[in-house]
Amino acid sequence: MADTSETTTIPITVDFSGGLEMLFDSKRRHSISLPATDGSGKPANIAFLIDHLCRNLMKDPRAELFVLDNHIRPGILVLINDADWELEGEEAYEIQPRDNILFVSTLHGG
């Protein structure tokens, strides 16, 4: 595992809704291959995923609509396999193969 960690990826789906689609190619669902470990060799977690999405998937320059001070913007809900991320350890949750991560904004019009 140590040798291949750089190239190992985890297949997951990431969904955006509540207006966040706009930042990601106006597409709701993205199937991505997430590097299994972050730069320092630690297993990929939600914090790493958010950073990864900003670097690789976001098509819109307005990153501040998604992250503020390196954390997910308050008012954006994160669901991990349909469960509130607060039940799953939030940023520290270690991503598993075939996880579905949903980012849904509460900030857009009602």
Partner: protein, 401 residues
Amino acid sequence: MAPALCANCKTERALIKRPKNHAKLCKACFITVFEDEVHHTIISSQLFRLGEKVAIGASGGKDSTVLASVLKTLNERHGYGLELVLLSIDEGIKGYRDDSLETVKRNAVQYDMPLKVVGYDELYGWTMDQVVETIGKKGNCTYCGVFRRQALDRGAKMLGIKHVVTGHNADDVAETVLMNLLRGDLARLSRSTSIVTGDSRSEVKRSKPLKYSYEKEIVLYAHHKRLDYFSTECIYSPEAFRGSARGLIKQLERVRPTAILDIVRSGEDMARLVLGESTSSCACKGQKSAGLAFLEDDIGGCGSQNGRTPGGEMAAMDKQLRENEAHEALEVDIVKAMSENKVGSEKERELPIRSSNGTSRGPARQVLGNCKRCGYMSSQEICQACMLLEGLNKNRAQIQI
């Protein structure tokens, strides 16, 4: 981490952590509890009469879609006997309403409710696109909000309906409380906390059954019930949520989720101090707390809501806050205050509270009558919409409310 079980049924996996009490619930229990709480609000504040015709201010957005869905469910479950109608406003912003109106049309089918769409052009002779052409993008949210407020009333009147419900949620109310607190406008603050605006003299009663519902839970309810809603930012207010009171609310929620309902309840307590009337936390006596100046309450601002919080004013306030570089300091103060005990009531009583009619701007003449121009009910001689229209028609942009 082993998945947590639902605190209610203790069998299903918990998917929701409730902001108001941290309860962990499964999907089915969450949906039931959410609906039960709205039902409690409706019953305790005696919001509806049996057989009443009620228009739902529908934008196709999450709040009004959830409101329509929940009201339909509760109406059938508890036999309210309501005749529910969807009422949508078309501001005349090219491309902006197309998708949301399509959503509302689908909602009308999904919920089996009649739909009425009212356009600004037919009501005012101006679409928002034309307004923006005339005055530019600055301040246009004010126009949009003033027009929308009357549009809902007028649309309801056209349908012979005397009660309009809107999707204002607890976050909206908390935001309005904060904004009015920052402006020092306790009179308006207290009115904004009331679940019903308008009184016996008004032709159309307005209420917000989701007043105690967290925006987070509204979004989760829509998600877990797979409701069909539409999200967009108003193209004329791209900055609407940046560095705003809304942002502050969301940051407070992140630190301490109960903060939102605490702000709502603080607003109700302040309303009691201002008006000498109770707007208790379950709104049991909240109906009468609206002052005469209710027409100025709750003016829908920008964004895709029908009659949401004052976007134009909020934007102006945000700007001021940024300019004063006071924003950060305020946040820190508020966060600190939230984590400590509430301000003693002794101090609150010493505040120079303005009369319920007094506002910090404009003449305080608040006798309810009819607008001399359009005949529409107004607390001023000329209603706000007509004032703005006059300005527009003279191609003057600098009207401040």
